[in-house]
Structure formats: C-alpha cells, structure tokens
Symmetry: C2
Subunit: 381 residues, 2 copies
C-alpha cells in the first residue's frame, strides 16, 4: 500500500526521480509539499487543490492538538474526512512549534507539579528528557508533548505519514548543547518508532519518517544519519536546517546528510524549505520532497511568483502602484485559474482593498507555480 520507487538517478547530480505511493494516491518526486497548517490550505478548498495539482499536504500536529483537538479529528474519521482534503497528507511531530515556543518563552526543567504558581509564566515551557510541557498561548491549557503523545496524536489524526518526535534546537547552539540535544532526539526517535510498531500491529495505515538532526556540526549530522537510518523508518526527514542558518550553512548540512545517506533508497524529506534557490539546490543534492509556508504566506502578502528569466524566479509585489492600470495577467503563459481570468490591475485592487478573494487568487497562482516548477524539475532529471 505504501511504497517508494526510485525511477531514475540524474547523471549530472544526486537528483533522483521517484514515485511515492500511499493509500490516498501517488506523488511524483521530487515534489513540493503544500502546507495546510490547521487542516486547511489557507483560503483554498480541496477542489482548488485538485485544480492546482497539489500532490501532498503537510499539516501541523501542534496546531491540531490545540484546536480543534485530536479527539474531534478522530471522531470525524481522520484528517482526510474532516478537512475534505483527498491528497496524501503528512503530519509533523509538533516538535518544531513546541521548541519555537520555548525559544520565545521562559524555559525551565521542572514539570508543572514541581512548580509553584509564581513560577508559571503564560508560555512556560519545561523541557526534560521525557518530553516538553507547555502552557498554550491561546487559553492557558497545559500540554505535555512526548514521543508517545505525539505519535499517538498523529495516529489519531490519521495522515498517511507521521514524523518522529524530535528536539528542534535553536540556531547557533554550541557543540555541547547540540550533542546533548541529539542524544535526546535519537532516544525520542526510538520511542516514537516503538509506539508506531505497536500501531502497525493493529494495521493502522500510516508510515513514519525519522528525523535527522545535528545542527551545524558535521560529525553530529553524520552520526545522526547513521543512527536514524539504522532504524526501519519508512522515510527520513532532515530537521533543523531552516532555523535561521545562512544559505551556506544550510547547504553544508544537507550535503553532509546526503553524502552519509549515499544510496539509501528511502524517501528523503527536507523540513521547512521552500525558497527558489534552496529548492533547486535541495533537489540537486538528492532531496525527494520538501514543505514550506513561503509560497502560501507570500501569496497572502501579494507577492506573486514569476519567471524572471530561464531558471531565475522572482516575485511581483502586486501592491505596487505601477500595477494599478496593468491589464496583463501576472504571467501570460501561466495556466492557473488566476492568470487565466484576472489582470494585475484587478489583483492590485483586491489587495489594496484587502478583499478576501485576493488571498485566494494569489495562493492559487503561487501553488500552481510551485507544482509547475517541480514538474519542470522532474522533466529535467
């Protein structure tokens, strides 16, 4: 039911062409995975996703746990039924958001029952080897994320793919901190897999990605690849690369991991990467799938993707006054719904007036652009 076939390897680079099979359909790789944070790709219906050609959607466990709650999704019959999204879906572990919260909060090492009330600031996050406890920024409810909690939540959400719970360290952590964090991530990977194994025996239709960490340190990254890839994860995800690094550091980290992975035939997912140059380089380095909020987030800011010259991509800022009377579409040859039906002048008007339709038309265009970009990438391999 789940399968990943490597169809072709590039002769010029490490790029690879593949086919990822899931109960909800096949994904041609390399592929861009669209983010649908809270169980909706912002402003779009599943019908829009079909028209765009969206191959897979990435949903955030952290957000779903906080609202509407995993019990609601489970009772609905899973995230596909709940959201109406019928593409394959992957959920993350929640770790990224929980540790982002920690970076902006007072961080402690005590659990709730060890604290007196004065020690509990609104976003308190307590990190231990067991897991992460925090207070929801929304309503003050306490949550306790552990590998067991995350994998159980992901099973109940019911996406095609789950991701092991990992510690996503802040940028610039020193060697000692990173090494300690990596031990924790590796321990949590095993605990995650253990829960997953039990689930598999109950014929849950879900596969799991392990997460490779190791920060900016080559030996730790290589060690993480060796460790994580030694376990029977269906796929391998690379984490911590998107957290504020320079472009060179990002490429170094991906490079070490890819080098160490060698011919490992499993699908490789790069977490949180989606700028044009990063996407192109990631594919060349052997990444199969990647997710990112940038195409949809920029769309909602009025930044429309365009081809600037062959293999050079950029953005049109539709709010600029120059587009007020520009009656051409965003892109003459783009075949998306937006470019087929609307001019820059109309889109400028909608964005100026903050009309709801603006965000949707821009999102359709940018996501269609990404799917076309990856179609071209696949053809070039």
């Amino acid at each position: 039911m789940f399968d990943f076939q490597l169809l072709k390897k590039s002769k010029k680079s490490r790029a690879r062409l593949g086919l990822l099979k899931t109960p909800h359909g096949q994904i041609k790789t390399p592929a861009f995975i669209t983010v649908g944070t809270k169980g909706t790709v912002k402003s779009l219906t599943p019908q829009d996703l079909d028209a765009i050609g969206t191959q897979m959607v990435f949903i955030n466990t952290y957000h779903i746990v906080l609202s509407p709650g995993v019990d609601v999704i489970e009772k609905a019959g899973g995230i596909h039924t709940f959201s109406g999204i019928d593409t394959p879906i992957i959920t993350d572990s929640g770790g990224f958001q929980v540790f982002s919260l920690a970076r902006n909060s007072k961080v402690g090492t005590k659990h709730k029952n060890e604290l007196n009330s004065e020690e509990q600031p609104p976003h308190f996050v307590a990190i231990t080897d067991d897991g992460v406890e925090f207070r929801s920024p929304r309503d003050g409810e306490m949550f306790y994320f552990t590998p067991e909690f995350s994998i159980d939540a992901q099973r109940r959400i019911g996406a095609d793919f789950a991701v092991a719970f990992d510690e996503c360290l802040y940028y610039g952590a020193d060697y000692k901190k990173t090494e300690k964090s990596l031990r924790r991530t590796h321990d949590w990977a095993q605990r995650s897999l253990q829960v997953h194994k039990v689930q598999s025996q109950k014929s849950i239709k879900q596969e799991m990605y392990g997460v490779i960490q190791g920060g900016l340190y080559e030996d730790l990254r290589r060690e993480s690849v060796k460790f994580i890839s030694s376990f029977p994860f269906f796929g391998l995800a690379i984490g911590g690369v998107s957290v504020g690094e320079t472009k060179k550091e990002m490429r170094d980290q991906i490079g070490w991991v890819m080098d160490e992975l060698g011919d490992d035939p499993r699908p490789r997912h790069l977490l949180g990467i989606g700028e044009f140059d990063d996407v192109m380089d990631a594919v060349v380095m052997g990444i199969d799938t990647m997710d990112c909020v940038i195409p949809t987030r920029h769309a909602r800011m009025g930044r429309f993707y365009v081809v600037q010259s062959p293999e050079s991509y950029g953005e049109v800022d539709i709010l600029k006054q120059v587009y007020k009377k520009d009656f051409a579409p965003i892109d003459e040859i783009c075949e998306c719904y937006t470019c087929h039906h609307f001019t820059r002048a109309y889109l400028h008007h909608l964005f100026k007036q903050r009309e709801l339709l603006a965000y949707r038309l821009a999102t359709i265009h940018n996501l269609f652009f990404m799917e076309q970009l990856f179609e071209n990438i696949r053809e070039s391999i």
Copy 2:
C-alpha cells in the same frame, strides 16, 4: 437586447413571475441580487457564482469611484471584464453611501472653495441642490457627486443597469424635510435621465432605473411613484425603505408604492432588503428583484441559513460550542458545495481559527440558499 416580460401574475397576491433580459443573460424574477460591493462578491470567484447559480450582481458606484477609480474600470473594458463576473450587473448611484457618510459627518451647505481650512473636518459633506461634495474617509481626496457625475461614472463602469442619482434621507426626517428632499430627488431623476438619453444616442448598452423616495409619508410616496413612473425609465427602484424603519413602516411604504404603481409592467427593484420575512412579503407585494448584503455579511459572521420548518427560515451560529463535534452538514438536503463536502465541526473549527476558507464556505451556502429560496418562490407563483 434589454427586455422585461411578465410571464404570470399570482391569483393569490400581487406576486409576479417575469424574465429580465440583458446582454449578459436572463434573470428569472422574482430574483435575489447578490451584492459585490467593490467589484467582488466577498471571497468568491466568478466560478463560484456560476456554481451557486447567482443571477445578477449589485456593485456600489461609490466604492468603485473611490478605489480603484472609474478610469481603471473603463480602461479595463468595463466592470465585467475587470472583475471577471459574467452575470448581469447593476450599479447603484452612489447616493446611498454618500448620504450615509453625511449622517455620520458634519454636514454643511457650502462647497469646498467657500470654506476655510478650519471648516473642513475629515469627512465633510456639503449637500446642495446641485450635488454632494465630500472628503473621502480613506485618503482625504475630495469628490463631488452630482446626477451627471454618477450617471457618467456608471456608464464608464459599464454595468447592464444604472440607477438614477437620488437623495437617500435619514430615518425619521420630518414631513417638510422629506418633501424638500423629494423635490431634489425628482430633479436629480430628470437630470440623470437626461445624461442617460445622450448616452443612449451613442448606443451605450445600458438601461436605467429611476428611484422612488418619499420617506414615511404616504402622499409623498404616491407622488414620487406618479412622478418617477411618468418618465421612460427601464425599471423602477424603491429607495429609503431599508434605512432603520420598523417592519410595519417598511411594509406600509412598499404597499403604497405598489398600490400606486398598479399594473405598470416595468421591473421593480427594492433597494437594500434581504431578511427572510421582508423578502417573502416584498414578493407578495409585487417586487421583482431585491439586493442585500445580509446573506453574505451574516455568512462572514458564521451565521448559516437553514430551514427551520416549512416556510420558516433561520440561522445556525456555527461558532457555538455545540457544533464542535457535530459531524452533520449544515443542511442534509442542501446541494451546495459546502454542505456536500463539509461538516458543522469543520466549519466550527475554521471559524474559531478565523481561517480564510471559513468565510468562503459560508458565503457559498448562504447565497445558494437564497437562490434556492427564490427558485421555490418562483415555483409557488
């Protein structure tokens, strides 16, 4: 090219069945006209409108004049081309918004060049027999709406139907004020028609509605009907009925107008009315079309239209906690996209999280509901 055929008159009431023909298609009447204020039915594409079965869209000249400006629409080739909306379109005169602005502003009777700078508050509105001058609340730009300005703007916007420029008086104005205002409205009707006549000689494809005013006073309403209907307007609109009146006052005013109109075969549009009981009563009293923001505005507040019992309609407030785990659609037998694909639980989640998709799915439902309601009304005549 333009035509209105009366197909049938009810034997039980003054309700009438008709067919309104325009260059952009036919409208079966009685019909609900969807509001697309700024050249977009909030959150919906023209494709959505097709799927809903929207028959006609009502666009506000005031908003278009302020932004993006009539020159932009004209240069685009008219509002149909600009917005992509391919149903018949009607624009109003701008009077309603301008006089709403006056109600919330310091109102004077001097023109800009008669004022010193201290006399110019941000929203200053000067009303004279010639027209209305005001400062845009958006950017301070001065505008001067006259019958000539409004009709010229409406021609350049290029909807199928334009509406004569009228004074829309505030609720509760006394007899003397109403009488004076009515004289002005009648004068402006003639001036509007004069501009329209010149345009018609240039084979502009647009027809015009005259506006009947007269406030809460029976003799003034009847006088207005006699006066306005004596001119060769294509259709007749009833104004000033939606401005804060009680239900009884509203019905009285419509009643007097309908009584006085008698067998006049022209289409009758009721401006700004759209609550369920008002809609039903308006049809029974002989109204052919009516527009209102309520179905779309309530949609964006999470208030979904439902049938409560035969001929009794109400709303579901989807933000209520009781819908958190309600996995039924809004309406089991509704055939709209929203009810076919999504549960109350999902819609509750989207509204709670203020997800953009929420507003669209609710708008689709409420507009589909209105089209179905009018389909049923037509069948019952």
